[in-house]
Symmetry: C2
Amino acid sequence: MTYRSPLDDYRFIFKHLAKLDEVLALPSYQEFEPDLVDAVLDENAKFVEEVIAPTNWEADQHPPVWENGIVKAAPAFHEPYQQFVESGWQGLGHEQQWGGQGFPSLVVTAAAENLQAGNISFALCPMLTDAVIEALSLVGSDAQKKTYLPSLIQGTWSGTMNLTEPQAGSDLSLVKTRAVKQADGTYRLFGQKIYITYGEHDLAENIIHLVLARTPDAPEGVKGLSLFVVPKYLVNDDGSLGQRNDVWSASIEHKLGIHGSPTSVLLYGDGKGEVGEGAVGTLVGEEGRGLQYMFITMNAARFAVGLQGIGLSERATQKAISFARDRVQSRAVEGSPGPVAIVRHPDVKRMLMTMQALTQASRAIACAAAHARDMGHAHTDPQVRAHQSQVYDFLVPVVKGFSTECSIEVASHGIQVHGGMGFIEETGAAQYYRDARILTIYEGTTAIQANDLVGRKTLRDGAAMARDFFKQMQQTCADLSAMIAKSGTDKQSGLSLIRDRLAEAIACAEAAVSHLLANASDHVRAVYAGSVPYLMLTGYLHGGWHFARAAMACVSAQQAGDKDPILEDKLATAVFYAGSILPRVQSISQGMLADVTVTAALDRASLSA
Amino acid sequence: MTYRSPLDDYRFIFKHLAKLDEVLALPSYQEFEPDLVDAVLDENAKFVEEVIAPTNWEADQHPPVWENGIVKAAPAFHEPYQQFVESGWQGLGHEQQWGGQGFPSLVVTAAAENLQAGNISFALCPMLTDAVIEALSLVGSDAQKKTYLPSLIQGTWSGTMNLTEPQAGSDLSLVKTRAVKQADGTYRLFGQKIYITYGEHDLAENIIHLVLARTPDAPEGVKGLSLFVVPKYLVNDDGSLGQRNDVWSASIEHKLGIHGSPTSVLLYGDGKGEVGEGAVGTLVGEEGRGLQYMFITMNAARFAVGLQGIGLSERATQKAISFARDRVQSRAVEGSPGPVAIVRHPDVKRMLMTMQALTQASRAIACAAAHARDMGHAHTDPQVRAHQSQVYDFLVPVVKGFSTECSIEVASHGIQVHGGMGFIEETGAAQYYRDARILTIYEGTTAIQANDLVGRKTLRDGAAMARDFFKQMQQTCADLSAMIAKSGTDKQSGLSLIRDRLAEAIACAEAAVSHLLANASDHVRAVYAGSVPYLMLTGYLHGGWHFARAAMACVSAQQAGDKDPILEDKLATAVFYAGSILPRVQSISQGMLADVTVTAALDRASLSA
């Protein structure tokens, strides 16, 4: 089976849900004609389908190799990476001033998800480069921008984020890496960083590390952290590569998945470079504000990991559907002359629809976030900009947490659809299940996302944003009622189910939010016991809302005479989601409402098991 | 961290839920004094903790090797397998007439789960041997019993089940392997079987294959299938090993998990043995009844796979709890002087409790089934025997399907608790996630179990058994009300939550069962779309019921002055289950109730995605 870029779904979303024409109408984006966007997305689809997607299994089985501090990338990646650079994909969303093309986030989202579906292990390299570009664009000095941005945006250099240390994972206050200021204003770094994605490899000519470290006299905790840029090779004034810096890969990890992506332990200041002892770096912004800068850039990175989840889900779904159409086994439950393709078995259909519905729900939420980002970035009215930026901020932990949690479920169903063959590595379904399992962990675990959603995004504004969404959703219910009245009978029961289930889910979500607000001061542990459930509830609810909007768009289009079969498919997926997925909101809400009682019981027990 | 056998939980269950004294009071089991049972379980715990558990990671990393048709087992297994045989563990539950010890199923369940927790890949070998012993005991001829049972029960020979072929997985009607009758009454077998667990290895002296095959003039479909016993080495009249038979391993599979277990493609009749062309076998029972015999023995095998799920869940849970106690990261959400062990973070606690609660729920259901099996086997009243056998039959697909589906969730949480380290293979948490993924597939996928539960176990008796359970559960709710009235205030809110949530879950389950009955004839596809949901609903509900019973037992014991800390832990876990897990019944039921509408919508779409 071959992977096909899900452009049909993107075009549906761009037309009906997260409207691309609204974004392209903004003055900043008026240079991008719809035809140009279409052509870019077609070209991106072709590149990923033909060049990147075929490397996925290959690089899993022939991963990168570490030898004496040198990491050779997966052999399957060298040629595709060069093509990636030559085609300019790294620069798609970046500033034109530094060589990028400046496309809006909504367009970049489609291309980025596609690249992730092609190969997550490959796409991690440009994804980390994006993060470094984002950070330097926002908080780098003019000199740093001039030195690093053009080559990063070209993709000839790649970037990395160096946060984690053995004792400092989710808790970055425990970071120990030292940065000592030199007479010339540069710093020398000493310490060990772990889990550094593409920390060392030979695809790019230089690697630009962003490193969180502590100056000698800095206070303890997060306020003592500063951010540094440390290149693998120093850069001469003319832009050519200079001395080998003192940062080395000590090893790469033996991981459950994303085998194609080299994950390094990096040693700073081991004394083996051409620069003497200590890795030479320059400070980004001001001392002591490192974590703050990381937070500024974190939204984009978290959003990107969410897209990894969606891309992986898309690909696992396509593979499972393709298998289920070909594999003939057992008669139909309603009777059939002989065995049928398993796609006809109701339980297989249920799994495939669950996969498809979760994938499309995640994608619709991500596009809503990207739309808000573009509006927040480029709308002419500053109040709209401020509000849309808040919408984006609210949705980012949902995109990251929900899409990736869903991808694990989707990949697991994908194996199950394949039966015994799913467990055989060569089939390929198992790889998605392995690869997906990192997505809920890196760039902040689901709990980190969920605590952010509960604390900063919901409690802080007294749930104003959360409830503003509820109001919009209630309007959608009202719109559905109007549509049901004038729909054909074949649509009425489906639309009614969507309306009724959405209304129930909103009520459950309101109860959950009220619970959070009511207990935030007196039962803080109970509130945070429900943080991941709340994040998932929010994801399921928003997904259901977008599907409800999609269903109305389908019926409207059909009423206007449009016979595109995607409309009936989308509508059926929306009905399935309302029937089978959206009720999860109820059970999650019920769980949250019991958290005060449950926490009290747990506090009385030792739980020695 | 070291694995500890969960004997505390078993002893709690044996005392309060699936009562061992009731089983040991049966005449057939009176020879087994409680002290003897205790000693056996202690010895089993020690053996697994010291000998088997340490091989788990080792065999994953140094798996069996295939070379020219010969499979060398994982090096770590040779010595432990000899100890396993010498200690007589293979015979624990088998007939004394053939050298077994004849312990009741409830005791064997504890030992079997423990062995699976120690190492699923290892335990698969005795598990398959058990299946062959079970089959030959029930339907073998006297000569077959005499030839094979003593060595199988000793464990010096092992057994395999040969059902699957490339075109025949869930659908065994498509089996093509041929069995040609010879003049001497034996048969010669020709064909290819795949996914044969321990189909070839060097731990046992001989391997006894049970093979589903088709005689030349047999009708098509399942009625043409017969069952044959085919030994790797023919057995001489004096019991010594004779000629090498014509069955060969063509390869072993490259699998996602259970790396320590060799999964063979077996070729029958390749002409390379010492017996000429065709593997020599003898017919089991009568021609044409092969699948029927397989079904007779299938309950035991499916129950055993359920125990694999529980053992895996137990071990993953222990590992995660141990890590969460040691790993210090971030301050407590309610404030703390410095970072705390992550077990104190509400979200980590939620994951650990989910793992523990699902494990203990699965175990309680399995023990209820084993108790029913013993009663069905050995009760003096034939009516009780008949009823209890039906109880067992109802519960087996739940034990198999629910416990294994839970094990995937549990293992996935186990990785998440470990954060980034969970994704590194050497940590070991990833292995459980890989290993668990086969459990919902082999011995009948979850859908196969669920279709059995819906069709044969629920619709066939008009839901009489399902509703009989509901009645017992309602009685538990009434008992809880009585207890709440006389409990201390610290217990009342927890017990009320348990009662209220159980009552809600029963109501939801009743609605789901009514839906199945109402639509069985007119909407069969909608009914079977809900089969896996119904199986999971049944598991969650029964788990919640047993936890409710456990909670009452804990409070009663405490009221009687028992200060054992396990009582408070069990009670807290029961409250957690009622608060956080049991509401899943609601959302599943809601999903099922929409299936007629959803199926109609899906039938209108092409779902070309």
